[in-house]
């Protein structure tokens, strides 16, 4: 089944897309609030037509419009100070973004320089490990360090993952706060031409490499394990000449580089794990505590970070008014649904196993054949009868957490007024 066919998409929106769950997640309450009514939705129609500044009063209204326009996908923006659909009629100064989930976008294309299994759009189980490592590091830091509680991870449909943080404090962040948090996580910096992309050490001087900030020190240990399994074994990143030259470029000591290059040129089939071992022995030749040893050890840590630390698309997170594809949209190329991902089981997540729109419609057909008395679709959540169910349940649980938070804060308010 062609996921780009309008009939397929229309059936998907009419029968499977969980509008009510999306509404609850965005609205934080049962009765409509500005969180939903002042929220921007943007639609992408076939032929690259892009409709911005739509807004709706209810889940039903949103569903009606989606079914009328039948977009290839739609995106969610910020909550504005006025209804986005009234943008043209309100004073420009009275129309500004106010609230917005804190969002992150991680995409495997940013890992092209460190993955050898696939390139550009393609993806396999091996390279998904980069994503799952990023999810684990970010999830841990955002909850433990920043204290966020309501994180929704969503598969982007092809080779990446999105994160939506719905805590009140996250929603209220201004652009400066967003920029700050991006700075905290932006460890890998610089384009293709930049060799060393990690410059994070505090109080580095000419003779002293400085220390890692505590947050990165914490992240380093699990990443070192990952480095060994993913970079050295799975990806075998330093096997090719280009691969090991990129590694040598990151070393600060001329003699070490010379020795290693000589050794590796003589043994072209040498495995990455052995090469890393060679490098470590070279480092150990310097006295413990000597400044060369300290500098080289720091360089090894930086290399581990450069190859494994999360790589963010920073621009997506920095501004409140950035739009991001809604969960449960269908990726037009793969047909896969952008489903929520459980961060505690992200290692087991298999992008290839994600239900695609064709499979879902077939499941629906079969379920109907099985049923004796066919019920009407509008009193029934059709997605419950397909493999979409566990994913919608995940979104519902997440939305419940947010709604519970609002309910509790309302009770507290009443308490304090008494």
């Amino acid at each position: 089944m062609d996921p780009s066919s309008p009939e397929v998409m229309l059936t998907f929106y009419r029968r499977l897309y969980p509008f009510k769950s999306i509404y609850n997640w965005l609205n934080h309450e049962h009765a409509p609030t500005k969180l939903f009514t002042h929220r921007e939705f943007a639609f992408t129609l076939p032929g690259d037509v892009y409709l911005r500044y739509n807004s709706f009063n209810s889940a039903e209204e949103l569903k009606k419009q989606v079914c009328t326009l039948n977009p290839t996908r739609f995106e969610i923006g910020p909550v504005y100070s006025a209804r986005p659909k009234d943008k043209k009629t309100v004073r420009p100064s009275a129309f500004s973004p106010r609230l917005r989930e804190l969002v992150f976008d991680i995409d495997l294309t940013d890992y092209d320089s460190v993955r050898t299994c696939c390139s550009s759009a393609s993806i396999c189980r091996l390279c998904w490990t980069f994503i799952s490592a990023a999810v684990r590091v970010l999830h841990e830091a955002l909850t433990e360090q920043f204290g966020f509680k309501h994180l929704l991870w969503v598969y982007s449909g092809r080779r990446g993952i999105h994160l939506w943080i719905g805590d009140k404090e996250a929603m209220e962040l201004d652009d400066e706060g967003r920029k700050a948090i991006v700075g905290w996580f932006e460890v890998i910096k610089g384009g293709k031409e930049m060799g060393n992309k990690v410059h994070v050490r505090l109080s580095a001087t000419k003779n002293n490499p400085g220390v890692l900030p505590p947050s990165l020190q914490t992240a380093l240990e699990p990443l070192a394990t990952l480095f060994s399994s993913l970079i050295l074994t799975d990806q075998n990143c330093f096997a090719s000449k280009d691969g090991y030259e990129a590694l040598l470029q990151l070393l600060p000591e001329g003699n070490v580089i010379k020795n290693l290059r000589k050794k590796w040129e003589a043994d072209p089939d040498r495995h990455s794990a052995d090469k890393w071992g060679d490098l470590k022995s070279e480092v150990k030749r310097f006295d413990k505590g000597s400044s060369t040893r300290v500098t080289l050890t720091a360089a090894l840590e930086d290399i581990i970070l450069q190859y494994t630390y999360p790589r963010l698309d920073a621009e997506v997170s920095k501004r409140r008014n950035h739009l991001l594809k809604a969960p449960f949209c269908v990726h037009p190329k793969t047909g896969r649904v952008c489903v929520p991902v459980d961060p505690t089981r992200v290692d087991e997540f298999d992008p290839e196993a994600v239900p695609d729109v064709g499979r879902l419609l077939r499941e629906l057909d079969e379920a109907e054949k099985m049923e004796v008395d066919g019920e009407g679709w509008d009193d029934h959540n059709d997605w419950e009868r397909t493999s979409l169910k566990p994913y919608v349940d995940m979104l519902d649980r997440h939305a419940m957490g947010l709604m519970e938070e609002v309910r509790r804060s309302k009770i507290e308010k009443i308490d304090t007024t008494w």
Binding site: G177, G183, P213, P214
Partner: protein
Amino acid sequence: MFKAAQKSKASIKTEPGQVDWYSTKPYPHRLNFYDRPPLFDVTIEEFETCAIDRLRVLAEIESSFVRNRPWDDLKTVTEAQSVKYLPLNANTARHADTESQRKRDHLGHFVLRLAFCRSEELRRRFVKAETTLFRVRYDSDDTSEKEEFLNSRDFDWITVDEEEKLLFSKELQAASAGKNDGFSREKYYKVKWTRVPDLIEKRKVFLKAGWAYVPGREQSSIIFQEFETNLTRALELTAKALPRLDEDSRLVPILSNLSQGFLVGVPSEWNGAPVAGEYVITAEMVDELARKNFPMCMRNLHGVLRRDRLLKHSGRLQYGLFLKVLGLSIEEAVAFWRKSFSKMTDDKFNKEYKYNIRHSYGLEGKRANYPARSCQQILLFDQPKASDCHGCPYRHFSHDNLQTALLSAYPDTLTAADLPEIMHTVKAGHPHVACTRVFEITHSQFGVKKGEGIGGGESVTHPNQYAARSRELEKAKKELEAGPSDESVAMEV
């Protein structure tokens, strides 16, 4: 808020029962978070001058950003401007009237809030400049007075106790970037991480469950951020309340003038027309002065006048008033224009032009003494049309024409290598910064260095100010050179 100014002055006096005499002083501290609006009567004149003086300081901070001045330079320039326009002394200063200084500081800040709350862009720039001014003052504040100021406000931070400090000693020390010598003595303060975004962005603090552990020496980050956040919020509120202020029609033009001053430089009136003495000029001298001392706008008008032997009305007005204020007497002005319009008959000149010249000198018609146009007026009013030559070359010329014009106007002092820097500020929409930079380059022979502007880091805000400063520098150099030659004469005796 200025409705409140109608209240009597008694409103700032102490409440009965307050014992601490110190707190009854309206301004116990040099630093001010401007939490309360001024509640005293002000005259329209005070209202305006306080604001303009403060604007001169803020405008210089803005151009420091545009010019990428390092912090220390910015501080020096800002302090120099402050001494001139907005002095603010410590409590210990013996001979300063600190109360009235602080009152002016307070008033000026609030007037500018009214002027700058009107658009998001203005608010953003005002907050940035004001926060920088606060930082400059904070940096130079007396340590014990700073302490008193900090104690006078609740910054809502939690002091980290010894137990917790020990618990996280490893992380805290790592975040302190290896400066561990003073760890046992260092105090830590806990604040919500959103209150120190700059420290978060650079990973300079230990962060746990949303709390940033800020070491004492980074405490100022919390304070600056607090200042910025407060002011941003207050400006948004003022913007909402502002329509009510429009009732007072006397204030509206002043306020819009002020905000425009921020966009294109401070409104400036140059009343320094010399009556006599060595700065008085004659018609004969104008060619040489134009070559040596005029800003680009006047260089251009002079060039056009010489080339076409005519100048259109707006150009005549801009140039004529400039020459008047430069020191060209009415007689010399008539002679200058008569000679310049060499294609014209005496009869036509006398009938159509002489009157206008005399008029601009206040000798005809309503006999007003017209001031010369400031940069602000040149930039904002009487915009040149395609066939006009007046205006500001840094704003109204095409980029190509501007570069050619600059190279031919200052062939000895300005080279093509200087152009990228100048054009960068032109393209960024800062004509007065470009003009100031050209002044510096073309006056480097007199020892003017990059960043000094027309003196003390000040930017060009008036063509006459440019020319006057240029002539001063030239004269000072001549005197210096004349010095040793006198001496050698003396030696010959």
